[in-house]
């Protein structure tokens, strides 16, 4: 047990830089009565001291690595204690944590020990054992190791709910600079192949109910923000392409945290948390609000506004679109109003069937009026006598940002995070979608 505790300490801490945290979205059928189930909306079991949610036992199988990627806490040239779990240790921890309701399941990643194929084989062996020998039916998220044989990845997907290949750096140039042992093809290759496999599997399952499942919760990826000079437009365009091309479920943005000094890395006083948050918000706009990357950013303005959320910022650049009449505008138009999220837009569409809505009704429905009021009319009325004035609205919205926002952002504590949803399992309240803007 002592030995196991030491391994868990090292390999848990080594895995913490992966931002992925979701445990939902799996349609895997519950068959028989062995060990566990998966719920469609994810469940968060705890929040760590940095405020990030804990839903899975997130560990590395090993932190022994042949790669020396500059940004990584486990790079081979760094002097840190190295450990490896056996597959039985991983399975035992998972089953016992799951049984006590500490977690929804396992998030298994790994450094590259010996070779990509060897590592992928070990990951596969572990998830297979967990399912087949331990009869575990909870959630499994497994990493695909770039550069490993696709047959190994494919087999791991039979056992896992979700798979991810981390893209880490947004351009090939940056990859060459900081992770010279990985290539763009190593990362995008498996993503593309996993996407085709998933598409084929969904088709098969439509025809045959008993067809085996293949990563039923889809694939995700992670991007490190702030380690390389790319602007937000490059990042958001890449995200858009990944969503469109590979149908990723989620892209996680992780603010770069310098763990080991390297002349190739920027000197940062603190991780760019505010930027990470703005990208996160923009990502929601792509996925749920019908925005395209080119609407949010362009070559003249390639970075997201730090002073306000990206939807308000878009609205102020497109004042001709407003004001929107709440009682007439269609759903897609409502979604573009700052302060109206997916849930409140749906509610407006329902509620106005019965009677026309005024400002007081909107408040009850859950619209964030202090932002929305500048962009809407109710029964033809604007909230006060004056005309829409872009400069004035910009000033007001800025003023509404929590006091001390900027100072705090440099020390890495954002009160903003507290009322804007920060992570996916929070949209666990069934039927609701968070990240509302």
């Amino acid at each position: 047990m002592r030995d196991l505790e030491e391994k868990l300490r090292i390999l848990g801490a080594a895995a913490r830089y992966d931002a992925s945290c979701s445990s939902g979205g799996s349609h895997r059928a519950i068959s028989g009565a062995r060990r566990g189930s998966c719920r469609l909306p994810g469940i968060c079991h705890s929040w760590s001291d940095d405020g990030r949610c804990v839903s899975l036992l997130k560990i590395l199988l090993t932190n022994q690595c042949v790669y020396d990627c500059a940004y990584c806490a486990n790079r081979s040239s760094r002097e840190v204690p190295r450990e490896s779990f056996t597959s039985d240790e991983v399975a035992d921890l998972t089953v016992n944590f799951y049984r006590r309701n500490y977690v929804e399941g396992l998030f298994l990643s790994s450094s590259v020990k010996r070779s990509p194929d060897h590592t992928m084989e070990q990951l596969l062996l572990t998830v297979k054992k967990l399912r087949e020998e331990y009869g575990f039916k909870g959630y499994i998220h497994v990493k695909a190791i770039p550069g490993s044989d696709h047959d190994l990845i494919r087999e791991a997907c039979r056992y896992a709910d979700r798979i991810s290949v981390n893209i880490e750096l947004p351009t090939e140039k940056s990859l060459r600079l900081l992770a010279p042992q990985k290539s763009k093809e190593d990362i995008l290759g498996p993503m593309g192949r996993i996407h085709s496999d998933i598409t084929a599997n969904r088709e098969e399952r439509r025809k045959f109910v008993n067809a085996p499942s293949y990563a039923p919760a889809g694939q995700t990826t992670q991007l490190i923000v702030g380690a390389t000079p790319e602007n937000d437009l490059q990042i958001i365009s890449l995200a858009e392409d990944l969503y469109n091309k590979y149908r990723l479920k989620r892209i996680y943005y992780s603010a770069f945290i310098p763990v080991s000094p390297d002349p190739r890395l920027p000197q940062l006083a603190s991780p760019p948390l505010l930027r990470e948050h703005r990208l996160y918000q923009a990502d929601w706009l792509l996925r749920y609000y019908g925005f395209s990357s080119r609407e949010l950013l362009d070559d003249c303005q390639p970075n997201l506004d730090e002073d306000m959320d990206p939807k308000s910022s878009w609205a102020l650049r497109n004042l001709h679109f407003f004001p929107v009449e709440i009682n007439i505008a269609d759903y897609e138009t409502l979604l573009r109003v700052p302060g109206i999220g997916v849930k409140s837009a749906r509610r407006i569409v329902h509620a106005r069937k019965f009677h026309s809505l005024g400002f007081e009704d909107l408040q009850k429905i859950g619209v964030v009026l202090k932002r929305a009021k500048y962009f809407i009319t109710c029964r033809g009325r604007y909230f006060h006598r004056s005309e829409m004035d872009g400069d004035l609205i910009r000033e007001k919205i800025r003023c509404e940002s929590p006091a001390g926002f900027r100072e705090r952002s440099t020390t890495g504590q954002l009160s903003l995070f507290e009322h804007l949803s920060a992570d996916e399992p929070h949209n666990k309240v069934p039927s609701s979608i968070t990240g509302e803007l």
Binding site: F97, I257, F354
Partner: protein, 252 residues
């Protein structure tokens, strides 16, 4: 003077009251559980309505058919909020429902609807939180035991989740505040209105996975991102006493 109706405090009992009111066209001043009514004045006339399975089933069907199953869910959840006076609020909601039918649940700007939906959302939120926060301990004989003390009576809502999750084990979830127990043995779930284990009688012996979990929890935070305010907003302090990882450190 309009009378006060008294029932046994169960949801079936409450549905039986609704059934009685609907069939006798009565207009109550209050609807109360017998427990609460015992503390009240003797001056008001009170009528005790016995819990009746048939009547409650009938009422459930009528609400589901004539209003909507979704409205029935809101009623059930709001009832579990345990808030004083919720019975009369539900009565108003149901009465409005007879007029509006399936459109009831969309009238969110109407206070009678909003009150119930807000309560139901509160219960749903707490239920969902507890699905994550409940912590089982392994007791002798492979029995898993968890204690809770939620604001709302969410035990009947969370118990089925653990049936799916641990259908091959024996477990207990114990609501310390309401002295109720969910007991799962031999593949059967029982919801009991009593405590079958007193918390002080639960063996104190630490299970080794408890310290592993606490240790793990401490090591996964990134200190450069340290954010206790965010942690508290997601995981309110009132639940910390049920969270193993938030127990004061035992050293090591």
């Amino acid at each position: 003077m309009s009378p006060r109706f008294v029932y046994d405090g169960t949801f079936e009992g409450f549905l039986s009251v609704l059934h009685h009111l609907l069939n006798n066209v009565e207009d109550p001043e209050e609807i109360q559980t017998s427990e609460k009514s015992a503390q009240h004045s003797l001056w008001m006339e009170s009528i005790y309505i016995r819990s009746d399975i048939e009547h409650s089933k009938n009422m459930k069907e009528r609400i589901c058919n004539e209003i909507s199953p979704e409205a029935f869910r809101h009623i059930y959840y709001a009832f579990l909020s345990d808030r004083d006076g919720v019975e009369m609020d539900i009565l108003q909601y149901v009465n409005l429902g007879w007029e509006l039918g399936e459109n009831l649940i969309y009238q969110i700007a109407d206070d009678r609807v909003r009150r119930i939906h807000n309560l139901s959302a509160k219960v749903r939120r707490e239920k969902h939180r507890l699905l994550g926060f409940i912590r089982f301990r392994l007791l002798p004989d492979d029995l898993l035991y968890a204690e809770i003390a939620p604001d709302c009576d969410i035990l009947p809502l969370v118990a089925p989740h653990f049936v799916n999750r641990m259908s091959h084990r024996r477990w207990i979830v114990h609501d310390r505040k309401r002295k109720k127990t969910a007991l799962f043995v031999d593949g059967e779930l029982k919801l009991l209105d009593e405590e079958i284990i007193r918390p002080q009688h639960v063996p104190k012996k630490e299970d080794p996975y408890q310290s592993l979990w606490k240790r793990y929890f401490r090591d996964i935070a990134i200190w450069e991102r340290h954010n206790p305010r965010l942690q508290r907003s997601r995981m309110p302090k009132k639940y910390w006493n049920m969270l193993l990882e938030k127990e004061p450190d035992i050293g090591g």
